[in-house]
Symmetry: C2
Subunit: 219 residues, 2 copies
DNA sequence: TCTTTTCTGTTGCAAAAACAACCGATTTGT
DNA sequence: ACAAATCGGTTGTTTTTGCAACAGAAAAGA
């Protein structure tokens, strides 16, 4: 468990917390490590969570498959990010989506109650972690609103432009690498893959964008 | 200002805080009241917030109009709910949407830094407010994910069913009243009003639902 | 290395949505 | 009470999407 301290230090939850404090908090917060193979489910829709999940390696998707096999990718969790903050509240109900490892992944679970309830004794940095948690959920909130901005556009082209421009802004460059393949991007933007692929090529032919694999450039 | 204490007591931010404590915190948190006429903007996209907004009367929409006049209603703020929690973090950037009063409304602004930074002295209930804030943002997060669930459905009919069923579940009855008129519902679900109206009537003719104005019944 | 699977682009067709225009009913404001 | 504005439903046309099927390229696995 100790070996994860340098990695945890870089996560949003433990930003600004000293190494030795993280070590102390690992037991204080009842941390448990687990690895998942690509494709395995970390959580399933309908479960009741009592832990917060920190991703230390790999990649997770928050997604939902409907009865007919249509998939919606709600969000993506990258290394250092966390999941389950929104279910920390006591009466937060069942999990709305599945959480799936899209790469071989390693996560650390922390007991949610022990994070929320500031312990009296040892953990001097506990309040820092609580604040980090608050900022993390706050940031995720804004991410979700941005996503709503993308998918509420009426046409596939507009959705693509909305998503790609925001990603370009975030990466601070007109040239950008997206973390999705075509099918995943379509599932993320809630459109049909083939129609989207078609639209991307039209946009390229019109000189709006260039792309190769998941590297894009806005012109 | 004192007269708002009974109302504030019922808001998500001050749940569980005693009257006299709220009174004390009003000055501690630098509370300011303001009223808005129907249609007025409370905040505009691009602004940088430094306050949290509690709605004590009326109704707000979080929305965005694009260049061609298409409106997207991202969320709705009802009496007792708050706005701006997601912008409490120092580096949270500019406001992504407009905040508009859809009815004559009264809001109270609280200095965001004073909420986050727990004051040393008087406010015994301050930590309760911080926790309330956390739960509020947490709940909003889940609301946003639900909304993504609705609008990521592929057809207008599916969007309507998704929205109406969730609302029925929330109101715990197959008969429900929605807080939108037709245009607003269309803007909320990101579809065309006339197409949606059409679809609603088809669903009624097929015996799936009944409705009159904004009262619906699922069959 | 060879086979199998996944990924991406392409096409045609059917279904659905957006758009525009209109009308009667209801609501709002004076 | 009356005029004006808003609201909800209807229809027809155009545009866009979803869907299915296929093929070459790339990647993964044996």
């Amino acid at each position: 468990m100790k070996k994860y301290i340098p990695i945890l230090k870089k996560t949003k939850l433990f930003a600004g917390v000293a190494d030795e404090e993280i070590g102390a908090m690992l037991s204080c917060l009842d941390a448990r490590v687990r690895t998942y193979k690509k494709g395995e489910y970390v959580h399933r829709q309908g479960e009741h969570l009592n832990s917060i999940t920190v991703l230390v390696d790999g990649e997770l998707h928050i997604q939902r498959d409907d009865y007919w096999g249509n998939r919606t990718i709600v969000n993506r969790i990258a290394i250092g990010e966390l999941f389950g903050e929104a279910y920390a509240a006591p009466e937060s109900g069942a999990l709305l989506n599945d959480v799936v490892a899209v790469e071989d992944s390693t996560v650390i679970f922390f007991d949610v109650r022990r994070i929320i309830t500031v312990c009296s004794s040892a953990c001097r940095f506990h309040s820092m972690v609580v604040q980090n948690l608050f900022f993390a959920i706050s940031e995720k909130n804004r991410t979700l609103v941005q996503k709503i901005g993308h998918i509420s556009k009426r046409t596939t082209r507009e959705k693509l432009i909305s998503y790609l421009s925001e990603e370009a802004k975030r990466q601070n460059s007109a040239s950008l690498i997206i973390p999705f393949n075509r099918q995943q991007l379509a599932d993320f933007l809630s459109v049909d893959r083939s129609a989207m692929s078609n639209e991307l090529c039209k946009m390229r032919d019109e000189g709006l964008i260039e792309f190769e694999k998941n590297q894009f450039r806005l012109l």
